[in-house]
């Protein structure tokens, strides 16, 4: 039993020494991570200690006791801090471990997602390819169909054409006669309309033409080429056959401009005949 106890005591001592070693290591670690500010503070404390030493020799023993007590307290404090640090370190290690695990899980997840997206893209491309192939196929089919239809239509047209030609050949004489009759009627009607407007224009210009004082004595004549706008406005007048008497020419020119706008047909086909008028003024 006593042996067992001593053995236990030995273990205990061993472990305490071990713990103390750990403490020193941890303390040195702590000293390393102490920020420079704390370090400066400690230096200042050391200065106070030095000052205290310089102030009094009498209280030395008391101070030594106090210092020992303080050292003990500091040791205890250091030990406490070491414990806390160990605990914090363990906690930090655990956190890091956890973060690493989380990161690995995330990476795995991203990888899985990317793979999934790639798979989808591939699937989509495959679908598109398939659709394109289908479209090409459809188009080819449509072209073929159209070609067949065109061929059929051509055949029909050819048949119709042949029939039309035959019919035209049969009705040619009758049609020609009919067209001639219509044309003659149109021409007559057109002529009548044109003659009517020629009469109106003649009146309009004549009413503005002031005779020369010696009108009719020399049988003079002057010819004006008149260019008309669609509303009958006189655009330009050229004397294309002078009478030799400038005053007569001028009075004719004045008459044309004074008569503007001239009465002209509104129908464009009829008016086409009135774009240019060649008016001869006879001074009779």
């Amino acid at each position: 039993m006593r042996a067992h106890f001593s053995q236990s005591f030995g273990y205990s001592l061993f472990f305490h020494i071990l713990i103390a070693l750990v403490f020193f290591v941890s303390l040195s670690d702590s000293l390393i991570i102490i920020p420079p500010a704390s370090n400066a503070e400690e230096i200042q404390n050391n200065k106070e200690i030095v000052n205290a030493v310089a102030i009094s020799q009498d209280d030395l023993s008391k101070e030594i006791r106090n210092q020992q007590a303080a050292e003990n307290a500091a040791k205890a404090k250091v030990a406490n801090e070491a414990r806390q640090l160990a605990a914090a370190k363990a906690q930090a290690l655990a956190q890091i471990q956890q973060a690493k695990q989380e990161q690995m899980a995330l990476a795995a997840k991203q990888q899985a997602d990317a793979k999934k997206a790639a798979d989808q893209l591939a699937q989509l491309q495959a679908q598109q390819k398939q659709a394109a192939e289908q479209l090409a196929q459809t188009q080819a089919q449509a072209a073929a169909t159209a070609k067949k239809a065109a061929e059929a239509q051509q055949q029909v047209l050819a048949a119709q054409k042949a029939a039309e030609a035959k019919r035209q050949a049969q009705q040619q004489q009758a049609l020609a006669a009919q067209q001639a009759a219509v044309a003659a009627a149109n021409t007559t009607q057109m002529q009548n309309e044109i003659n009517r407007y020629v009469g109106l224009i003649t009146q309009s210009i004549q009413a503005q033409w002031t005779q020369l004082p010696g009108a009719g004595q020399q049988k003079l004549a002057t010819t004006m080429l008149i260019h008309l706008a669609a509303d009958g406005t006189v655009l330009q007048v050229q004397n294309v056959g002078s009478s030799g008497n400038p005053a007569l020419d001028r009075l004719a020119l004045t008459a044309v401009y004074k008569a503007s706008p001239l009465p002209v047909p509104t129908d464009p086909t009829l008016f086409a005949n009135f774009r240019e008028l060649k008016v001869k003024f006879n001074d009779t």
Binding site: Q208, L212, P213, A215, R250, K258, N273, R275, K278, V279
Partner: protein, 478 residues
């Protein structure tokens, strides 16, 4: 080149019966015209240029032919804008004188100054559209300013409002003159002349003169009269006596060269025929035979006078006096009254008045064969015949019908008589050298005055400037 015309003017199909000429069938419409389907831009531009050249240089073959056979007898509407006057020494209103001249000519209708919408003095300031809407054809603007050496500088511009369809007028004539202040009236008449000639194609008569006889009571002896042979401007202004007498003066007639006037003077109580030089007043006695010496008429060559002489008998006959040699040639020899001889323009025959048919009528005699034929049959009285200058077929005469004595134009070819006046009481018609006006004397309220009527009958005016009784007017040559 003409084949391109349809490109510019479209459908130009041939229409039979109204004179439209055919165009190439292949180019009848723009759509079917082969010249529209061009192979290159270069070619198209070339065709366009050729087409435009044709448009502006040659008559197109496709124009519709229209013929107008007669214009309207109408006065040309014109406005004479008062001149921009900067001459306090010049009392003559040039624009007003021109206005009167043109108005009295019968060929113009001058817008009254009160109706002028504007009074521009610069051609650039004239809006043709404004004046066109007032119905005017032409516009005269100008200025009259005093020069440094005391003369009058006049500028005149004649504007044609209808020379184009543009709103800017066309300058037909632009003249500038510098004259003595005393000549501004003559200058105004000259401007009237050139305007008239520019617009009517014949010479104006506004610088010609009149000879006529005035009769006034003598101031100190009202029972006696003073007769004056007067020479004046054609508007009656500027009248000066060539001869004054207490005895009647009758029948003045101008020599064709305008230098002298022949007339009958009773200054010796008996009728004698004289000529007077208009410039110098120098007189020459031509005829002083027994009895009647009357109705002198210068031949077209100014070398002889046709006269009516009674040679001691009761009735006058027609003679010709050679002014160079004094040789006398008798043309008629009968017992009727033969008087008022007047030469044909060619100098080969004479018109005269004779009552050989019972009443005064116009007869003609040719100098070579002495053949006489009666000219007028219409009416019971025709006298004082003269050929209208510029015409060999129309004569002016004094014609009596139920409205009294009036001036008429008788057409030798058609035999028609056109009466120009209606008032009656007219004497002594004498046509202007361009034949467009006839001056006469007429009775207005018991006083004889001069008047003028246009030979188209459109204008009939009085000459109020003449004082006293005025009679026997004769219009000078140019």
């Amino acid at each position: 080149m003409k084949k391109y015309i349809p490109l510019l003017f479209g459908d130009t199909r041939s229409i039979v019966g109204v004179g439209l000429r055919a165009c190439p069938k292949r180019a009848t419409t723009i759509g079917s015209c082969p010249y529209v389907r061009m192979r290159s831009l270069k070619y198209s531009i070339w065709v366009l240029i050729m087409g435009l050249m044709t448009f502006f240089t040659t008559p197109a073959s496709a124009a519709l032919d229209i013929e107008i056979t007669r214009g309207v007898v109408r006065s040309i509407p014109i406005a004479i804008v008062p001149f921009d006057v900067n001459n306090p020494n010049n009392p003559n209103d040039i624009a007003r004188i021109i206005s009167n001249d043109l108005n009295h000519s019968g060929q113009f209708q001058v817008m009254p100054q009160s109706r002028l919408p504007q009074q521009p003095h610069d051609a650039d300031a004239v809006s043709a559209d404004l004046w066109k809407t007032l119905g005017l054809d032409d516009l005269v603007i100008g200025s009259a300013t005093l020069t440094d050496n005391g003369q009058t500088k006049a500028d005149m511009t004649l504007l044609d409002l209808f020379h184009s369809n543009q709103s800017t007028p066309t300058v037909l004539m632009r003249q500038s003159y510098t004259v003595a202040n005393s000549q501004t009236r003559a200058l105004a008449h000259h401007i009237s002349d050139i305007i008239y000639e520019k617009l009517t194609g014949e010479k104006g008569v506004f610088s010609t003169r009149l000879a006529y006889v005035t009769v006034e009571p003598l101031p100190n002896n009202p029972r006696h009269k003073r007769y004056s042979l007067m020479i004046s401007d054609v508007d009656g202004h500027n009248a000066k006596p060539l001869l004054t007498s207490t005895q009647p003066i009758m029948s003045p007639d101008w020599s064709p060269d305008g230098r002298s006037v022949a007339y009958v003077s009773f200054e010796t109580k008996l009728p004698q025929i004289f000529t007077s030089d208009v410039a110098t007043g120098q007189r020459r006695l031509i005829s002083s035979f027994a009895g009647i010496n009357g109705a002198p008429s210068f031949s077209p060559d100014s070398r002889s006078l046709a006269v009516a002489l009674s040679m001691g008998r009761t009735n006058p006959n027609i003679y010709i006096i050679d002014l160079g040699s004094g040789r006398l040639t008798q043309l008629t020899d009968d017992a009727a009254i033969n008087t008022e001889p007047s030469w044909a323009p060619d100098g080969q025959s004479l018109l005269f008045t004779s009552d050989r048919g019972g009443a005064p009528q116009i007869y003609s005699i040719d100098l070579a064969g002495r053949q006489v034929h009666r000219v007028t049959y219409l009416g019971a009285y025709n006298a004082s015949a003269m050929y209208l200058p510029g015409s060999s077929t129309k004569i002016s005469l004094l014609h009596r019908d139920d409205r009294g004595f009036n001036i008429a134009i008788y057409d030798l070819q058609s035999g028609t008589m056109q009466t120009l006046t209606q008032g009656g009481y007219i004497e002594s018609p004498s046509p202007a050298p361009n034949g467009r006006m006839i001056v006469y004397s007429t009775n207005v309220g018991g006083r004889r005055m001069l008047g003028m009527v246009s030979s188209n009958g459109q204008v009939n005016i009085r000459l109020p400037e003449v004082s006293g009784d005025a009679q026997a007017p004769a219009w000078s040559p140019y």
